[in-house]
């Protein structure tokens, strides 16, 4: 390597770090203006986050965010914008929870069955947007937004009533309304025993979600698929230069549908963390994970490891800000500002870093050959 690997890695890491620092600075200014003490507020968040139980909460939130981030990133890799992850995972989780409870299968088979149903429903719903794009020329941004509305306020709202179990179900300490509960043997077991092997006993009835393992597998699968397979090559080529990909034999339409199907299949897993935690599809499930997933994919640069960091940052902000309500150091809404600023700053910082890297590469390539060429257009 003529240009040092170290400098390259530094450039890659510099951008998100700068974005993070910038957003902390901006939020501090906002906190100061609103009469709060930023040092106290961030201090409260940090000390809260250093507790084992909070860490479990953060990981439990980061897990679905990571899966959602990967789902969005698959689309991004070929310039497809899957905004429909929300609708896809809610519909998938509902159908999977219902069919998981209805079809009687022994232990592990039921777990697999539920995951497969969720992926199939997500894939089909997202694939529909892909088919609309290649056959009718409908932009996937428009169609997935529309399909979100149809799924969430239409199909899910209707089916959750149709499939509602009689009475209220006891879940943990609260009783909630939802679909028929899945037997305990059909749920992915929690990872508390693994965690406790390393640390102490996890208190407050917190459970580290078993979906964490699935999320790691999804990440590995995403990395291998995109960076190591022919399909991934076709996907990336189409994203970088669709014309060159086409003359290189990549079937453009089939790639659009495949990418949407894959993205949807992964999206189908997003809601599984909640299903496995509560044991059924609740009438008021967690929403918006798909939209946060877009931000996570952006911050993580569509990179399998980058998305992990991004998911952890977003989960940390979401969970640890809860403590602000109790300590009163600041309003917890400050994290919404932080999340927004991070994304804006990251987009700018990544672009600056990309240009710097391109200049550096061109210069080192030219230096290596002893001819200096002007660089005005990329």
């Amino acid at each position: 390597m003529n240009f040092s690997l170290g400098r390259r890695i530094l450039l890659t890491l510099a951008a998100p770090v700068v974005a993070l620092v910038f957003s902390v600075a901006m939020s501090s200014i906002v906190l100061l203006i609103s009469g709060s003490n930023p040092v106290a507020a961030f201090g409260d968040m940090m000390s809260h986050a250093s507790r084992l139980e909070t860490m479990v909460d953060i990981l439990n939130r980061a897990t679905p965010l990571y899966i959602a981030g990967v789902a969005v990133a698959i689309g991004f890799r070929m310039n497809l914008f899957n905004i429909g992850v929300d609708g896809q995972y809610l519909l998938a989780a509902l159908v999977a929870a219902h069919l998981g409870a209805m079809v009687n299968l022994p232990g592990v088979l039921r777990i697999v069955w539920i995951l497969v149903v969720a992926m199939a429903v997500g894939a089909a719903y997202s694939g529909f947007a892909g088919v609309l794009k290649v056959t009718r020329g409908i932009n996937e941004v428009i169609s997935t937004i529309m399909l979100n509305a149809i799924a969430i306020s239409g199909i899910v709202a209707y089916l959750v009533r149709e499939w509602q179990a009689g009475g209220e179900i006891l879940s943990g300490s609260a009783s909630r309304v939802g679909t028929t509960p899945i037997p305990e043997s059909g749920l992915i077991p929690d990872l508390n025993s693994v965690l406790e092997f390393f640390t102490r006993e996890v208190g407050q009835g917190k459970e580290l979600t078993g979906m964490l393992v699935i999320a790691i597998l999804v990440g590995l699968g995403y990395h291998i698929l995109v960076n190591r397979t022919r399909f991934g090559f076709d996907l990336r080529a189409s994203g970088i230069n669709p014309f060159a990909a086409q003359v290189g034999g990549v079937p453009a339409k089939r790639m659009v549908v495949s990418a949407m199907v894959l993205s949807g299949a992964v999206a189908g897993l997003v809601g599984m963390a909640e299903i496995n935690q509560v044991g059924f599809f609740p009438a008021n499930p967690i929403r918006g994970l798909g939209f946060t997933g877009i931000a996570v994919a952006l911050l993580g640069r569509n990179h399998p490891a980058g998305i992990i960091l991004a998911a952890l940052i977003f989960a940390f902000l979401d969970i640890s800000s809860g403590v602000l309500q109790f300590t009163g150091a600041a309003s917890r809404e400050i994290v919404v500002i932080m999340q927004g600023v991070i994304i804006l700053a990251a987009v700018v910082a990544y672009e600056v870093a990309r240009r710097a890297r391109e200049r550096q590469e061109a210069r080192s390539a030219a230096e290596a050959l002893g001819d200096i060429k002007p660089l005005e257009a990329a």
């Binding site: 090559f233 970088i240 230069n241 060159a244 003359v247 290596a368």
Partner: protein, 506 residues
């Protein structure tokens, strides 16, 4: 007469290419001035500089005798220069009037658009220049020629006295061309100065008062139409040095590698692009297609490659029909492709060289093993291409955008050649690269031809065409109009066939 535009020593460089090299241009007030030259000669860059879309690296520009420096088109518009783009920039769902005032709306109190004022101004402009069009027609209902007239009116409405028309006839049918020329003469009589880009020589001779020819970014001549013939212009455009036809012995065999039979290709509006074309290329043969750009050569190549649908006719590779199979299968069966625009169709610029070397061959050895990309195989193949084809790069991990144009082209040629294609489709394989790299690419094609590769060569460079081809066919308005022997034809005659000035005696 006064000079409307004077350009002195305009130079514009892009990485690896000099688009304009000390170009001088002087346009008199009230004349129709044509800029001729092959694609890549620097015409468009020059017009973009004049219109403020790009800034020159060196040189001076004068408009009406005053020295100017434009950093944006709005400054050019203020100086009275207007541009009619080749691709219309009109909003289909708006009316003619709305389109004309778009971006220059006269307003009355509270920012409301003053349509009365706009309408009367449009009427004045139309009457002053003799251009009529109903201001209330929806643009989507207009014919192509009428849309172009809207574009021209749009420019005049903004007060332009100097109009730049970028290949205005490219999108028109012959009757519309006549109408356009009538309008252009009308504009001239009403005091406008017109500068237009064209490479259809008969049209240029019919309408222009003065013709400036560009070649390789330089002004080679400024002539009057009555002093020259289409032949002379063609020679000026392609360079008058007579080529030395290669006297390498023929490697043509009896085996037909590519057969195209009665091929018909149309665009979305059913306009015929490739009209009943038939030809054969045998193993070891190079068939060159001569033609002024835009006469269907690019579409013919697209159809053979499979990126453009065929309306009727048949394409066969080694006796096997491939008319309807997808691009990937065609490439796997041995069709290689050197695209005319390497950035658009040939490369993944931000991706490393070894991934670029795999592009188009990612389903074949040594780039693949099962469903996976064979990274080591791909890298060692790329290393091989780098050495064999002299691609100047520190290593195969650098991104393609870091290489100079010539090295990018050598990578593409190497990628296609090492795959051992049965048929190579080479579209302008040496366009925009330096002389050294050019000679290497020629040698590569000759070597592969000797090994039995069949080549379909398209080039605007007549030296290249005559030097490499075993047979030359001439394409004009989508048809093959002549077959000539490169050993005996002169560039002058070839130019005459290309412009339709000379026809094959049946």
């Amino acid at each position: 007469m006064a000079q409307a535009i004077e350009l002195i020593g305009i130079t514009k460089r892009f990485p690896g290419v000099v688009a304009n090299d000390s170009v001088n241009l002087s346009v008199e007030e009230g004349e129709i001035h044509a800029i001729c030259g092959e694609n890549g000669a620097g015409k468009s860059t020059l017009m973009k500089i004049l219109y403020g879309m790009q800034q020159p690296d060196a040189g001076t520009m004068k408009v009406d005798g005053r020295e100017v420096r434009f950093t944006s088109p709005s400054q050019a518009i203020d100086a009275g220069i207007g541009m009619v783009h080749q691709h219309f920039m009109l909003a289909d769902q708006l009316t003619v009037l709305e389109n004309v005032i778009l971006g220059a709306e006269p307003t009355k109190a509270f920012g409301r658009i003053d349509f009365e004022e706009a309408r009367s101004h449009l009427k004045q402009v139309g009457e002053a220049y003799g251009l009529t069009i109903d201001p209330d027609d929806l643009v989507e209902e207009l014919e192509v020629g009428e849309r172009q007239r809207v574009e021209i009116i749009k420019v005049l409405y903004r007060g332009a006295k100097i109009l730049i028309l970028d290949e205005p006839t490219a999108v028109l049918v012959p009757q519309e061309v006549e109408e356009l020329f009538r309008n252009m003469r009308g504009l001239k009589n009403d005091g406008a100065t017109l500068l237009f880009i064209d490479h259809k020589l008969d049209e240029v001779l019919a309408i222009a008062d003065t013709i400036t020819v560009l070649r390789d970014g330089k002004t080679v001549a400024t002539v009057k139409p009555d002093e020259v013939t289409a032949h002379d212009l063609a020679e000026l455009m392609v360079g008058s040095e007579l080529p030395t036809p290669e006297t390498t012995e023929s490697t043509v065999t009896d085996v037909v590698a590519l057969e195209v039979d009665s091929l018909l290709v149309v665009d979305l509006e059913d306009r015929v692009l490739v009209d009943d074309v038939s030809f054969r290329i045998r193993r070891g043969e190079v068939v060159g297609i001569a033609g002024v750009e835009g006469n269907g050569q690019a579409e013919l190549v697209d159809a053979v490659l499979g990126t453009r649908p065929v309306k009727s006719g048949k394409i066969s590779l080694m006796g096997e029909e491939i008319t309807l199979i997808p691009v990937r299968e065609r490439r796997e069966k041995g069709i290689g492709y050197i695209p005319q625009d390497r950035h658009r169709e040939g490369l993944l610029l931000p991706a490393p060289l070894w991934e670029n070397a795999a592009l188009g061959h990612q389903t074949q050895e040594p780039f693949t093993s099962g469903p996976f990309i064979d990274r080591d195989g791909a890298k060692s193949r790329t290393e091989h291409i780098r050495q064999e084809f002299d691609v100047r790069t520190p290593n195969v991990e650098v991104a393609a955008h870091a290489l100079s144009g010539g090295n990018q082209q050598k990578l593409i040629v190497g990628r296609e050649m090492t795959a051992g294609p049965v048929v190579l489709l080479a579209a302008h394989p040496t366009r925009g690269i330096d002389v050294g790299a050019q000679a290497e690419v020629w040698d590569d094609i000759k070597a592969a031809r000797a090994l039995g590769m069949a080549t379909l060569l398209i080039s605007a460079d007549l030296d290249e065409l005559i030097g490499l081809s075993d047979t030359i066919v001439v394409m004009l308005r989508g048809k093959l109009v002549a077959t000539v022997d490169p050993a005996t034809v002169s560039p002058r005659d070839l130019g005459a066939y290309m412009t339709g000035a000379k026809q094959e005696s049946a």
